[in-house]
């Protein structure tokens, strides 16, 4: 067994084995939750053989063996670096999910409740019995009135009918 240390990695945390074509990372469980380790390991199983172990309480070791075999030191270092990056991504994702769990559950519950509830649709009988003569609402300021209705040119008769009321001096009997 020819053990190998990699530049840029802590010596006791990342160890390579050239003969086996594998690299072993030791992860502190207090820094990276187990779910993050599982997530990162699962992503790597398409190109590596992954074996997890617990060398001591509070740490997890991850051994990555290249599927193609005969990996050189550079390839092992690359593999370890990519795994470490993926581990960080998974840990961060896990943290975001934990922080937003309540919000996610609330939105999901509301969406499911909305999808399952059956709205009370009016039947044709209800439509036939509906009283259309009733005024929908009062509109004293004429807001709901169309522009044509509000500003149309008035006929002389209409002007004559309004003139005394508008033209009467205010405050006089």
């Amino acid at each position: 067994m020819s053990t190998l240390m990699f530049e840029g990695f802590p010596k006791d945390l990342v160890v390579g084995d050239l003969a086996d074509g594998s690299v072993t990372l030791t992860v502190d469980a207090a820094v990276y939750p187990l779910e993050a380790v599982y997530g990162a390991a699962y992503i790597f199983i398409d190109r590596c053989f992954v074996l997890l172990d617990r060398p001591k309480a509070g740490s997890v070791s991850v051994t990555l063996t290249d599927k193609k075999g005969a990996a050189d030191a550079g390839a092992l270092r690359q593999m370890a670096g990519e795994f470490a990056n993926e581990l960080l991504t998974q840990a961060w994702r896990q943290k975001i999910v934990e922080e937003n769990r309540v919000l996610l559950e609330t939105v999901t519950m509301q969406a499911l409740a909305g999808a399952t509830a059956t709205p009370a649709e009016p039947s044709l009988d209800d439509l036939a019995n509906f009283d259309f003569t009733e005024e929908a609402f009062d509109d004293p300021l004429g807001i709901a009135m169309s522009w044509e209705e509000k500003y149309k040119k008035k006929t002389p008769a209409e002007v004559a009918g309004e003139a005394p009321a508008e033209g009467a001096p205010e405050g006089k009997p």
Binding site: L34, E35, Y38, G39, A41, Y42, I45, F49, V50, L51, L52, D53, R54, V60, T65
Partner: protein
Amino acid sequence: MIERRFHRDLYPAAALASAVQVYERFARFEVADEGDHQVVRITAKKPERERRIALELGNYALGLTRKEALS
């Protein structure tokens, strides 16, 4: 014969048993409990084959573990 040790905290017994069941037509398996680990001893016709099956078994057990955790 080759040996692989699977920690109980990391690999549920059901996931490992299912993985062994999948690969038992390629080699002979013996599973034993040793402390915190389940130890799987694999015997095949050639050492290379034993090593390959051991590695594949590890990946398969990890996949089942992850699947179980998500379901």
